[in-house]
């Protein structure tokens, strides 16, 4: 349990230490999915949900591992849990709302390799957050990820129609944009204090 307030944790995870723009986590889907606005929002929503579930499971696993004194199993158990969570979430959504499942499409399985989810589990364990702090942290991280994704998608949609030098086409331009976004997010520094 740390002394950070819930509000501070949320602001930190979503803005000041944004998972994509400050920690470089979730870059793969960030660069791959962020070309259309509506896919970006849906991906963001799916990721936030998986983050919430994984965060809770990671909290439980950490307590168990401490109790049986097997800290070296942390990584393997986290990965296993994340992979199974994504599977379960996929099956659950398929049953409960087939329409939502169709719109999410391929994105659900892609979330498994999203470093942001594992990163979330590892960071919250290192910081020793309590259960409520974990939930807020996951919500903040998911919100920040969605925000970065949506901003990036908006920018790239506009860029499709602009004239850019040949050399910069493709990933190089996307990475430069990400860098500029990262600089702007630095302006949030000190907000969470």
């Amino acid at each position: 349990m740390t002394s950070e307030s819930l509000w501070s944790i949320f602001i930190n995870a979503s803005l000041v230490n944004n998972f994509v723009l400050a920690y470089f986590l979730g870059i793969c889907p960030f660069l791959g999915v962020s070309s259309k606005l509506d896919t970006a929002t849906r991906m963001g929503g799916a990721v936030t949900f998986v983050m919430l579930v994984s965060s809770v499971c990671a909290f439980g696993i950490q307590m168990l591992l401490v109790a049986i004194d097997a800290p070296y199993l942390k990584l393997i158990s986290f990965i296993a849990v994340i992979a199974s969570t994504v599977q379960l979430v996929e099956m659950f959504i398929k049953k409960v709302s087939p329409a939502l499942f169709r719109t999410l499409g391929i994105f659900l399985p892609l979330i498994t390799t999203n470093c942001a989810i594992l990163g979330l589990a590892l960071f919250q364990t290192n910081k020793g957050y309590s259960f409520v702090q974990c939930i807020v942290y996951a919500l903040g991280a998911g919100a920040g990820f969605t925000l970065a994704l949506v901003l990036m998608a908006g920018l790239r949609e506009k860029l499709e129609l602009a004239e850019v030098p040949d050399v910069t086409k493709g990933t190089a331009m996307a990475v430069m944009l990400a860098g500029l976004l990262s600089v702007t997010f630095m302006g949030f520094g000190g907000l969470g204090g």
Binding site: S3, E4, N12, V16, N17, G190, G193
Partner: protein, 228 residues
């Protein structure tokens, strides 16, 4: 498909093969992890102990040995035995003649960018903090990280007053951050221009920690005296 092709197609793997693979690989991986863990554990523990000692002796310059104490249920301090996971710990420093020199306490709190972790040394004789060392910080390089290097700022902690009121129940004056150049009292922390939030954070972290520990420590002073 022709009969020949059907016959030459490999048989689909049985459940036994799948279990065998997963369990076999699992056992191999498990053994590998556990053996590496056992081999590296003593080295890691040793490294951590050395790093901690270095930090303690940096904030308590006159100490040559140290003992770890934990806060127990009665509110007093007992020598720590074993690992001390989840316990609240303080580190007592003794000089060459086994005399109590001071106490080192770890503290954490929110800085500008992320959490700052530090350790500070408390001197009984001076009733003041006589040194701090930042253990972990992610403050902005070139700006916030001046809390670790700025000579004027570090001078604050050569004698930061944390004396208690007469009945030893709380700090006589809380540690307050002030603007650079405005320090008038020994319990104020002179800030760094351009790194205001980080320096204010240090002052707040120290204040919160001192408010908690100082009354407890001074009320149980005898717990730390070493028997000769």
């Amino acid at each position: 498909m022709s009969q020949a092709e059907l016959a030459s197609r490999p048989a689909p793997p049985s459940t036994w093969h799948m279990y065998r693979a997963m369990v076999g690989v699992g056992v191999f991986c498990g053994l590998l992890i556990v053996s590496v863990y056992q081999v590296t554990l003593p080295v890691i523990e040793h490294n951590k102990a050395v790093a901690l000692q270095k930090a303690i002796f940096h904030v308590l310059p006159n100490a040559t040995t140290s003992t770890t104490y934990r806060l127990d249920e009665s509110g007093g301090f007992v020598v720590l035995e074993g690992k001390g996971v989840g316990e609240q710990l303080v580190y007592a420093g003794y000089d060459g003649e086994q005399k109590l020199v001071g106490l080192a306490v770890e503290a954490r709190g929110m800085g500008y960018q992320d959490v700052i972790g530090l350790i500070y040394g408390y001197s009984f004789a001076e009733q003041a903090i006589i040194g701090i060392q930042v253990l972990e910080s992610k403050e902005t390089p070139g700006l916030g990280d001046k809390i670790e290097t700025d000579a004027d700022f570090l001078q604050n902690f050569e004698r930061l007053d944390v004396s208690l009121v007469d009945d030893l129940s709380q700090l006589a004056n809380p540690i307050v951050p002030v603007k650079h150049g405005e320090k008038a009292n020994p319990w104020e922390v002179d800030g760094i221009t351009g790194a205001t939030i980080s320096s204010v954070a240090i002052a707040n972290i120290l204040d919160a920690s001192a408010q908690y520990w100082m009354p407890r420590i001074r009320n149980n002073l005898s717990d730390f005296e070493r028997e000769d």
